[in-house]
Amino acid sequence: MVNQSPEYLFGQWLDNALTEDERSAFEALCVSDEDFAARVATATQLNVAAEQFSAPPMPAWDKNATFIASDKPKWWQWQGLPAVSMAMSAAAMVMVLSGFSVQVEDGRVTMGFGQSVSSGPTEAEVAALVADRINDYQQANQAMFTQYVNALQQQQQESSTQLAQYLLKSSRQERREDFAELVQFINQQRDDDQRYYARQLTHLQREINAIDDGYTAVTE
């Protein structure tokens, strides 16, 4: 059964898709229907006009204005930024409401919920901490004192050795000098004695001589 609708046949004709039966119906319609024939004529005229259509010359237009996507979006224009910002805000609210805390101690990071960062350690912890500190301080002092005493002892030993050596050395020299002085004194004493005895002998000689002269005179 051929579709006799003028619009359908006209469309099939324009698409060049008429079957034999449709073509017969189309041609019959062209003969019998002036209005239809006029449309066919107009369509043919339009096809010719389309092939021969001449437009004004192409104007000089700004093609560069159409190339706008080369600018890569900046990082702050990233579309995920609002979502990330929202997520961060939500996370911050959860952390605040749940008492989330982060503690850094001796290179360790401790995170937890339900404890406040501002609440410090308990008194027992403080006492233990203070005791530890004092103990450490005492041990450090003890070690320092021990080291100091050792250093003093070593220094004392060195000083004593140096003093003994000095005394030994100096006493030997003094004794040598004392002996030299003693020998010199004795020699000097001997010289004096000799001179004394010489004078005594001389004096005695004179007395003897005087006695001898007197005796001689008496005798003579």
């Binding site: 003028p6 619009e7 359908y8 006209f10 469309g11 324009l14 698409d15 209005d35 006029a38 449309r39 004529a41 107009t42 369509a43 005229q45 339009l46 096809n47 006009a49 389309a50 021969q52 259509f53 001449s54 437009a55 004004p56 192409m58 104007p59 237009w61 700004d62 093609k63 560069n64 204005a65 159409t66 190339f67 706008i68 996507a69 080369s70």
Partner: protein, 180 residues
């Protein structure tokens, strides 16, 4: 020398190749400009519309999936830009059923057209409602099938045929008036 396929040029343009994009423009600018002439009636408006169309095409280029021809996709965007063009021109006028969105008399710009037939045809088309004009344009000048036109305009194939059928009757009278 083999010409690159549209899809290759699109791919390169999406990677930032201005040269590829300009090659694509060069391939279609004449057709789009003539489309603009017939749809708007003046070379000046046609040039504006052409620029609008290519900007819109470039912005949507990444959405082209290649399941149809680029030409069909291009003319679909052209049609939407044309509707937008008339909406800006006459914001209160409904477009689909509007009567003539045209110049009533040939403008001096028409004299720029190189032959009488083209001038008459262009002016006669301006007297058609936009919806009918678009069907005439795509069928006779764009050489699309009814199915393709229906897809581009978001209509059924029968509606397109009906519009064309009605448009031809009116266009015949207008061409007779033009030829006087």
């Amino acid at each position: 020398m083999f010409e690159k396929r549209d899809e290759q040029l699109i791919e390169q343009a999406l990677k930032g190749s201005k040269k590829a994009w300009f090659a694509l423009i060069k391939r279609y600018e004449s057709g789009i400009y003539q489309y603009g002439i017939r749809m708007t009636g003046t070379p000046h408006d046609a040039a504006d519309l052409m620029q609008d169309i290519f900007i819109a095409v470039f912005k949507s280029l990444s959405n082209f999936r290649g399941d149809g021809s680029f030409k069909a996709w291009l003319y679909r965007i052209a049609h939407f830009r044309c509707i937008e063009f008339y909406r800006r021109k006459r914001p209160d006028t409904p477009l689909e059923d509007s009567e003539e969105l045209s110049c009533e008399r040939p403008t001096p710009e028409h004299s720029l057209m190189s032959d009488i037939t083209s001038q008459s045809l262009t002016h006669a088309m301006q007297r058609l409602p936009l919806a009918q004009r678009a069907v005439i344009e795509l069928k006779f000048f764009g050489q699309f099938t009814f199915e393709e036109i229906a897809e581009q305009l978001g209509l059924s194939s029968n509606t397109v045929k009906s519009r064309l059928y009605s448009a031809l009757s009116k266009l015949k009278l207008d061409l007779e008036v033009e030829h006087g």
